[in-house]
């Protein structure tokens, strides 16, 4: 550690290289915002010269064991039992269950920093806890918003408060999310950074057939299409939280106002029946097309079928769907909830309160705006605003901040835990002490020296300049 490596012309490696362990229950082959974030972050960190390993749970019948993904990032799919919770499929909440596994992984991979993702991921919370026990600095990224009043949120917040006591730094994906996390976990605001998600511009871009400076008006003229024959695309899980009920009212009213507008609704969920009933009732069979569940690889194609994208979510901490649509050159209409207003400037994003009439007005406004929008110009703008390299650079700043500060020692942690409350504090302090004891036991039973350190897999970048015979050899460039 400590040498500068020139990876590519114009891209200098960071002054220090860390071994980052990204931990979460949510990773590929599951799909969602968290998964994409972890993957893109891992990829960019690796390209920036850091070493990355990802730890997640096994996806039964599909994936278990150790895999490598693109870029030479190792992924541990730990064979743990997982269950379907309201917030997603994750491992069961335990405290000691993962300690031996994670200790082994952390020692084997010589992990410098543990970065956990998502509050509702049990593996993440446990990993951060065990890393703190072992003296490894931790970082946490929170991807969702939570309330304060319902029973599940109260419990999650309580656990998060305990969990984040020992985490050195927290990253939130929007300013609203930061405020939410600060209030929930009672964390100091200056210990929380705001680093948003980003979008992959190569994947989400307008059609190649569109010229750089063409606006939609030009495109429609070229296609000899009336400016009124517009398609609105909605891709969302059809659940209450994502505003599927609003769609039931918005679609008919827009169709009534603008008879030439077509709709494409992608996604599946419990409210699909409602949408189908709505189509039946208003006789919109030729106007609304239901696609069912859309695979992530197909999303760019579906987006390109429309000119306007509508997102009616009732709560979003950072809506990646909006970014994807905007990067594809589409005009975006979204509900003004959570962190959505912070994502794009008003000329790229039309906001409306979660009211069907207002959303319909928003779609009307989009119809008025879209002729003058140039898809590629918008794509360039969005790509300039959000790109994964920038996000990674900001994350590396956070890593640099925490890398040199080890977590607090045991007695400090126990004191902080006791401050959580009369009964809860004692419980937490007890668990912390128990963990420490079990860790000492594990150190005795399976000492760190006995665990073989894993060699670093060469990334394809590093092969430039390597002699053919050397491919596959372990590179001894100062790794410990």
């Amino acid at each position: 550690m400590g040498e500068r490596i020139q990876l590519e012309a114009g891209r200098a490696a960071p002054a220090r290289r860390y071994k980052i362990c990204l931990v979460s229950d949510f990773f590929f082959p599951g799909f969602g915002g968290v998964e994409t974030h972890i993957f893109c972050l891992a990829w960019c960190l690796k390209r920036a010269g850091h070493r990355v390993v990802i730890v997640t749970r096994a996806y039964n019948n599909d994936r278990q064991g150790i895999r490598c993904i693109t870029g030479g990032v190792k992924v541990y799919y730990l064979p743990l039992y997982s269950a379907s919770f309201p917030h997603g499929v994750s491992t069961l909440p335990t405290t000691l269950d993962l300690l031996p596994w994670l200790r082994h992984v952390f020692i084997r991979e010589s992990v410098d920093i543990v970065h956990g993702h998502q509050t509702t991921s049990n593996m993440c919370q446990e990993a951060m806890f065990h890393a703190t026990t072992m003296g490894i600095p931790t970082v946490f990224t929170d991807h969702s918003l939570f309330g304060f009043a319902d029973a599940s949120s109260i419990h999650i917040n309580k656990v998060l408060e305990w969990s984040l006591q020992a985490v050195q730094h927290v990253i939130c994906v929007s300013h609203t999310a930061r405020e939410n996390t600060v209030l929930r976990a009672k964390k100091r605001p200056s210990d929380v950074s705001v680093i948003p998600n980003a979008v992959d511009p190569a994947k989400f871009q307008p059609e190649v057939s569109i010229a750089e400076s063409e606006t939609w008006r030009d495109i429609f003229e070229r296609q000899r299409r009336s400016l009124e024959k517009v398609t609105v695309v909605v891709i969302t899980r059809l659940v209450y939280r994502k505003g599927a009920d609003l769609l039931v009212d918005v679609i008919p009213s827009v169709c009534a106002k603008h008879p030439n507008v077509d709709w494409i609704v992608g996604g599946d969920g419990p409210r699909l029946l409602q949408i189908e009933q709505m189509i039946e009732m208003h006789n919109l069979h030729d106007k609304v097309e239901l696609l069912g569940a859309v695979k992530h690889d197909d999303v760019p194609g579906v987006l390109r079928r429309g000119q306007i994208f509508l997102n009616a979510s009732l709560t979003e901490s950072f809506c990646i769907a909006i970014l994807e649509a905007a990067a594809s050159g589409r005009v975006v209409v979204a509900t003004e909830v959570g962190g959505v207003p912070e994502v794009l400037p008003s000329d790229l994003l039309i906001l409306a309160p979660p009211d069907p009439k207002a959303l319909a007005d928003g779609v009307t406004a989009a119809l008025g705006r879209f002729p003058s929008v140039s898809p590629w110009a918008q794509h360039r703008r969005v790509a300039a605003m959000y790109n994964w390299e920038d996000i990674t650079a900001r994350t590396m700043t956070v890593y640099a901040k925490v890398a040199d500060t080890p977590p607090p020692p045991l007695h400090e942690r126990i004191c902080h835990n006791l401050a959580l409350g009369l009964v809860y504090g004692c419980l937490c302090a007890g668990i912390t002490a128990l963990h420490h004891f079990v860790w000492l036991l594990l150190k005795f039973v399976s000492p760190a020296d006995g665990i073989q350190k894993a060699p670093e897999l060469p990334a394809f970048d590093d092969l430039d300049g390597t002699a053919p015979g050397e491919y596959g050899k372990v590179r001894n460039d100062g790794e410990q």
Partner: protein, 465 residues
């Protein structure tokens, strides 16, 4: 940590980061004592952590806060003055999107002819650069403005945000970096959307006592029954006295009911005369059956020890008290679990008597107190609340008197329990509501769709957590 210190830590969390001085009445929240209605309106300064200047620009703040606290009503009040604010009005991104009471922004759309602030989010405040210069983009659509009108109360953000180079201010946006670092906490704009205790309804102490009287009444009823049972068991009262008292009480209740209800009829009993006749005949039949069956009861719990029986009966009465419906709107027919548990307990206890007459008397008393009195008490509570209140104290008094006659210790315990339930616990609840309540709302809340029938259906079905 205790809730109070949790509150302080929330204040501290913001203070440490940004040195903001919170609203004066921070800990106490809004002015208390208003029963029922929300008093968020006009108390914006106290509700919020950060007091807002009461100038024209933030007159909208008060309105906004008003509307937010107003649980879904569309406010179309005198917020139009906010529309006349030039330029700065726009709609802030961090606005009070308190969705549960989200205002339908229609109130201030049509009158808003703001050309330079239509469709703005806060990132355009004070930004006179090319970014999002609306007039050039022709985005004057007033409907756009209407759709965001509801957060117009977060209007004037010109004052907010740290001043940066180039005359700009720090904005709550993610697409633009300021160079201040990702963990920069802006003193003025951090937690600006936070709302504490805006929808807390404080019930005055007197009303709390009235509500808790329902519990006291049920406790008194149960205690009365147990007391009569023990007196019967000890032979201090004769079973004839008990039967006579039951009959007298039933007759009195019937008299009251016929005087008050029969002339008018009630919505649930359109044919009261027929109902009463039917009810009386049923009562007579079942009473007769019970009387003839009661000798068999004697052997029911013969092998049971006294302790077992006591434990079981105590548990059953606990179930009765726990599952009784104490609300004033409930239908007594739904109280199946509580009535059944009390009946089971009474049958078990009645089986302890040697002479069948006493067993019959016990069961008759139980039926009167736990089953038959329910509709009567419900009727009293709905139609004559004062009489119902008096009935409670009559029952409590008679229990107390019977305890005093027997054992002062029990009397004291009973009095303590009654005082605790009726006075002490509501007082504690009141205290906790006023001091420790911390209801946090803000832009992170899940939005409540307005004017949406499909969403409302989800809600009324009780499927939303």
């Amino acid at each position: 940590m205790s809730r109070k210190s949790a509150k302080q830590s929330v204040k501290g969390a913001t203070r440490e980061g940004n040195g903001v001085s919170t609203a004066t009445d921070g800990d106490r929240g809004p002015g208390r004592g208003e029963a029922g209605g929300d008093d968020g309106c006009g108390r914006g300064g106290e509700n919020r952590r950060k007091p807002r200047p009461r100038d024209g620009t933030s007159g909208a703040d008060g309105r906004g806060n008003c509307g937010d606290a107003d649980n879904g009503n569309n406010h179309n009040n005198a917020s139009n003055n906010s529309c006349s604010n030039s330029g700065s009005k726009g709609n802030s991104s961090s606005g009070n999107r308190n969705s549960k009471g989200s205002i339908n922004g229609k109130g201030n759309n049509s009158s808003c002819g703001n050309s330079d602030s239509t469709g703005n989010s806060s990132n355009n405040k004070g930004n006179n650069n090319g970014k999002g210069n609306n007039s050039s983009r022709g985005n004057r659509d007033s409907t756009c403005n209407s759709s965001k009108g509801n957060s117009g109360h977060k209007a004037n953000r010109r004052q907010g945000g740290k001043a940066l180079a180039g005359g700009q201010r720090w904005q709550r946006v993610l697409w633009q970096q300021t160079g201040l670092g990702d963990s920069y906490v802006d003193e003025e704009r951090f937690l600006e959307g936070l709302q504490l205790n805006t929808r807390v309804r404080l019930v005055p102490y007197a009303q709390l006592i009235k509500h808790s009287t329902a519990v006291t009444q049920q406790v008194a009823v149960a205690t009365l029954y147990l007391q009569v049972f023990s007196q019967l068991l000890q032979g201090r009262i004769s079973s004839d006295t008990v039967c006579a008292a039951c009959a007298a009480a039933a007759a009195a209740a019937l008299a009251v009911y016929s005087v008050c209800v029969l002339p008018r009829g009630t919505s649930s009993a359109p044919q009261p005369r027929a109902d009463i006749a039917a009810g009386l005949s049923e009562l007579a039949i079942s009473a007769g059956a019970l009387y003839f069956v009661s000798p068999i009861l004697r052997t029911l719990t013969e092998p049971w020890a006294d302790d077992t029986l006591t434990t079981v009966c105590v548990l059953l009465f606990v179930v009765n008290l726990a599952t009784s419906d104490y609300s004033s709107a409930g239908d007594f027919a739904k109280e199946t679990v509580s009535v059944n548990s009390a009946s089971v307990a009474s049958v078990l206890l009645a089986s302890r008597f040697e002479e069948p007459g006493a067993g019959f008397a016990t069961i008759a008393l139980a039926v009167l107190l736990f089953t038959a009195s329910l509709p009567f008490r419900r009727f009293l509570r709905v139609s004559y609340p004062d009489a119902w209140f008096a009935l409670t104290w009559l029952l409590v008094g008679s229990c107390f008197a019977s305890f005093v006659a027997v054992d002062a210790c029990w009397a004291g315990a009973f009095a303590a329990v009654v005082a605790g339930i009726t006075f002490a616990i509501p007082a504690w609840f009141n205290y906790e509501q006023r001091v420790a309540k911390m209801q946090i709302n803000g832009p992170w809340d899940e939005a409540r769709p307005t004017n949406c029938a499909a969403a409302a259906e989800w809600d009324t079905a009780g499927l939303l957590t």
